[in-house]
Amino acid sequence: MSWFDKLQQTFIEGDRYMWLVEGLINTLIITLGALIIGVLIGTLIAITKYFCEGNKKLRILNWLCDLYTTVIRGIPITVLLLMFFYIVLVSADGVIVAIVAFGINSGAYMAELIRSGINAVDKGQMEAARSLGMSKGQAMAKIIFPQAIKNILPAIGNECIALLKETSVAGYVAIVDITRAATNIRNKTFDAVNPIILLALIYLVLVVGMTKLLAILERRLRKSDGK
C-alpha cells in the first residue's frame, strides 16, 4: 500500500479528518477562553497586589492573592483539570471545565508576569501622574498599566504558546481536543505514525502563527519608542 493510500485510509475514510477539525476547534476555543480568563485574573491579582503594597488594611487581600498563586502554581495542570472535572464542576460541559481549569491555571502565571511588568515601570511615572493630581487608580489605568503591558508582551506571548500546548492534556477528562482526536483516529485505524506526525505539524503551525501575530502587535506597540 502506498503512503497516499495509507493517508486516504487513515484520514479520508469515514470522514475522519473531520474529527481533527472538530478537535482543533475545541483546542482553539479552550485556548482562547482560558487566555481571556487568565489575563483577567492575572490583571486583577497583579493590580490588587500593587494597591495592597504598604497598606496594612488590605493585608488579607494580599494574602489571598499569594495563596492563589502558590496553590495553583503548586498543582500540575493535569491534576487541576481532574479536580475541576470530578470535584468542582461535576455537571458542566467538558469544554467549559477545561476553559475554567486552564484559565485559572494561566491566571496564576499571568499575575506574576503582569506584576513584574508593573514593577518594571519607572517609579517616576507614578510620581509624575500623582503630581498632576491623578489618583492612584487613574495613574494605573492611563500611565502604568499601558507601559507594563508593553514591557511584558513577549512573555505573555510565551505564556500563550505554553497554554496552547498545555491544552493537549484536556483528553484526560474526555474532552475531544485535537490531541484526543488524533488518538481516536490512531485507535480506530491502527495507524500510529501519520496521525501523530500530522498532530505535531498542526501544533507547530498554530504556534508559528501565534508568534507572527504577536510580533506584529509588538511592532505596533513599539512605535512610540521612537527608535
Binding site: D122, E127, A128, S131, L132, Q138, K142, K150, S224, D225
Partner: protein, 245 residues
Amino acid sequence: MENNVVIRTKNLQKSFDDLDVLKGIDIDICKGDVVCVIGASGSGKSTFLRCLNLLEQPTGGSIFFNGAELTNSKVDLDLHRQKMGMVFQQFNLFPHLTILKNLTLAPMMLKKVPKEEAEAKALALLARVGLADRAESYPNQLSGGQKQRVAIVRALCMEPEVMLFDEPTSALDPEMVGEVLDVMKELARDGMTMVVVTHEMGFAREVANRVIFLDDGLLAEDGTPEEIFGAPKTERLKTFLSKVL
C-alpha cells in the same frame, strides 16, 4: 493665615526608617515668591520639596496649601495637587504618549477640559517654549532639554498656583541647561510662585527673591540672594558656598 501665604510648613519632619532627613522645618512661602532651595547633597532639600505635595509622606509636622492642611488625611490631596505643578530631575514624561497627549491627558481627565480647548492651550504653551513642531513626537525622540521644557509645559497645562522644581537641570547636558533655565526665568517674570531645588547658583542669584539654605535637615539660613550669597551668616553656608561658587 495671611492671604498671600500659599505654602506653610510647621515643624515639618521626615524620617526614612531611623534616618532623620528633615528635622523640623518652618517656612511660609508667599504668592509670587521664587524660592531657591540650596544645600549640600543629603541635606534634605529634595525631600523637603517632595514633602510639599506629599510625594513623600511627612513623618511629623504639618503642611498647609492655601490654608488647607494637606497632612490631614481627610483632605482631597489629588485636588490640591492639581494646583501644584511639579518638574522632576528625570523629566518623567509618559513615554507611551505623544507630547500633545502628555500635555492634554491630565486637564481632560481631571478638569474635564474639552479636547479642543486642552489642545489649543497645550499647543500655545508648546510654542512659547519653542517646541510647537514636536506635538506629535514621542518623548524618546526629544533631547533632554526639550523633554524638560515639555515637562514644564505639562505642569503648566493644569494651571497651577505653585510650581515645584526638583533639580530640573541636574540630568541635562551642560549645553541644554540654558534653554530650561530660560523657560523658568520667563515663568518667574510672569509672577508664578516657584520653589526650586537647584545647584544653579547663578539662577538662584538672578531669579530668586529668596534663597533658603538647608543643612542637615534644618533650615539654616533664609534670606534674599544678596544676603545669602553676599553675607552668609553661618559657617556651614560659607563653606558650602566656597565649594560651589
